[in-house]
Symmetry: C2
Subunit: 356 residues, 2 copies
């Protein structure tokens, strides 16, 4: 049976990427060597690394003056590294709180300078994106989480201000066009739209750096990684390789603009069904609904096990909601084909017939 | 043509591991899902993670009271994390300097407390392991690098002292038996004997922790990772999976004692040829020669390109020495079969016939 993987992350990647990655493990481009055994200083890997950098630059239209890094340690490391590198002890940064990941970023940044939480949707259970707030002129940056995997909210437009934006884009990077020039830092764990777990894309505008005078361990210093071209130490070779394959797939399929259109289509089919189907209710306000993580509840929560069972029978995997929200969450990242969404809609309709 | 991979790291892994990993990418144990797309909270991955932990514990005879972590960020992150977590501001740690990696560990630790370098082999170009030194009683730990990939030296016995040992075992972990009870911390980037690049094994004795009162970012705090069972954030799923496969291969092939015997045999064949063959000279003092990284020079350095060419013709890849030592380096980790070593010896003999 075909399995449709709705997992929130690590999550579905394109099928051709699995085939190429599988082959690269047996024999990388006819070299007689596996991608898992080649040196990170080998010509073959340097080429992979360069291609991954230039493709990220191309797909995201990254302007010159922004550096592209592939680091280890996940977005969770960027929560403190962004502040460690860019927030002076006597400086102030503005943070928007839209969920669990924002909260963690806020907690980790506080040790380095003044952190002002200028808006939070915590009181609504993070079911909307705050829109009324004032960004202090003297904030060295404004930090936010562009897409919130747990509640299923997403910024449709970014904070309007002249301060540089710092953004955790882990769960919607490469899913829609973004004006990177407005961002001081973008960071994204690869394991949603970009690749497998184990590598984090960090895009840093160079003028964000060199403005703190604290002592920074080499491995935490963006400037060290820029100087070393992400090769200050042995990088996560295979996760970078699979990220390259995934970005190549994206390019072959029309790039970010084309995938954004498909993502709109997929999400609207699913949200339309949630709104139409009498058994379900949406979690998030219409204006803030995520195109990546679609959250919904049953009107009668006692049917949850029955619905999950029906999902399982249809091969729809990973639909159970996060424990803090309950209900269901269908993650429909770039690699989720339309047919996966249709399969889930069919399950919802079948469920309505059975229990409605 | 069969390629023999003598790369220093990332480096050769067992052929069956490549086949299993390749298959796991297409379909993990008949689940219909790729190892690259499953959630780190899925039953399948939790099982992989538990097995990897328990197999590391079994193969290394890790006593209770030592915790096993799989972290991101490489041994380079452990250079500062070990001191950050264990060296109080007013405390002292003793460090042994046996090469580039030791030096980096020393540099990174200095920001956290007093670092006393009790011995160094720098003046000999790191071509031996220092043996004459006194460990201060009040050092909270003694840090050393058990095997030095660049010069090709290896500790045959570990520092004799009652202080806890802290050791970078990146390049000889799982290659020989070690009395783990003497160690406060062992850390090892996987990409030599344990798996691919992208994950680091950290073994911490719990009484090493909780003795510093500084503020530690969550992602850098061993106690946070212990509490989260290495799942505080999304771990590097695939590198952990391949590490499990590699450890399973090791167990099936007799475990650490058996591989240590094979490693002795392989190294002695190669060193015997270096000592016998009139064209070559060894780099390292006999007593300190690494069983993992065999370094050697040509008596007449002008023949270097010719020798490397002969290596290439015979499929011997990655034999060029590190730029700081010159000459040649054959890394013969656990997964290097005897026939690979024999192939290189044949090249050395052929070279002697041609140029001798």
């Amino acid at each position: 049976m075909k399995v449709h993987n709705f997992s929130a992350g690590p999550s579905i990647l394109p099928q051709p990427v699995f085939q190429q990655a599988s082959q690269g493990i047996l024999d990388l481009n006819g070299s007689g060597l596996s991608i898992l055994e080649i040196s990170h200083r080998s010509k073959a890997f340097i080429e992979i690394h360069e291609k991954a950098k230039s493709l990220a630059k191309e797909l995201l239209s990254v302007p010159d003056g922004h550096q592209i890094l592939f680091l280890a340690g996940g977005a969770s490391s960027q929560f403190f590294m962004s502040a460690l590198n860019c927030l002076p002890q006597n400086g102030k940064a503005a943070y928007l709180d839209t969920g669990s990941w924002s909260s963690k970023a806020i907690k980790e940044a506080k040790r380095y300078g003044q952190v002002e939480v200028i808006a939070s949707s915590k009181e609504s259970g993070y079911r909307h994106i705050p829109k009324d707030y004032i960004v202090p002129n003297d904030a060295v940056y404004v930090h936010f989480t562009s897409n919130n995997t747990i509640a299923g909210t997403q910024y449709k437009s970014f904070p309007e201000c002249s301060n540089p934006l710092v953004c955790d884009m882990s769960s919607d990077i490469l899913s829609r066009p973004v004006d990177v020039s407005r961002f001081g830092i973008i960071y994204a764990g690869a394991q949603k739209n970009m690749g497998p777990a184990g590598v984090t894309l960090v895009i840093v505008r160079e003028d964000m750096l060199g403005k703190v005078d604290r002592d920074i361990p080499s491995m935490l210093d963006y400037q060290v990684h820029i100087k070393g071209d992400s090769m200050f130490n042995t990088p996560p070779v295979f996760p970078i390789y699979v990220s390259l394959l995934t970005m190549q797939w994206l390019k072959e399929n029309g790039g970010v603009l084309a995938v954004a259109k498909r993502n709109e289509e997929k999400a609207s089919i699913l949200y339309e069904e949630i709104d139409r189907n009498g058994m379900f209710i949406p979690v998030v306000e219409k204006s803030d609904r995520s195109l990546m993580n679609v959250t919904f509840l049953l009107k009668d929560a006692s049917h949850e096990a029955a619905f999950l069972n029906l999902c399982k029978e249809a091969g729809c995997d990973g639909v159970k909601g996060h424990r803090s929200v309950g209900g269901f969450r269908a993650s429909i990242y770039n690699a989720m084909p339309l047919e996966g969404v249709q399969a889930l809609v069919e399950v919802m309709q079948k469920f309505e017939e059975q229990k409605g």
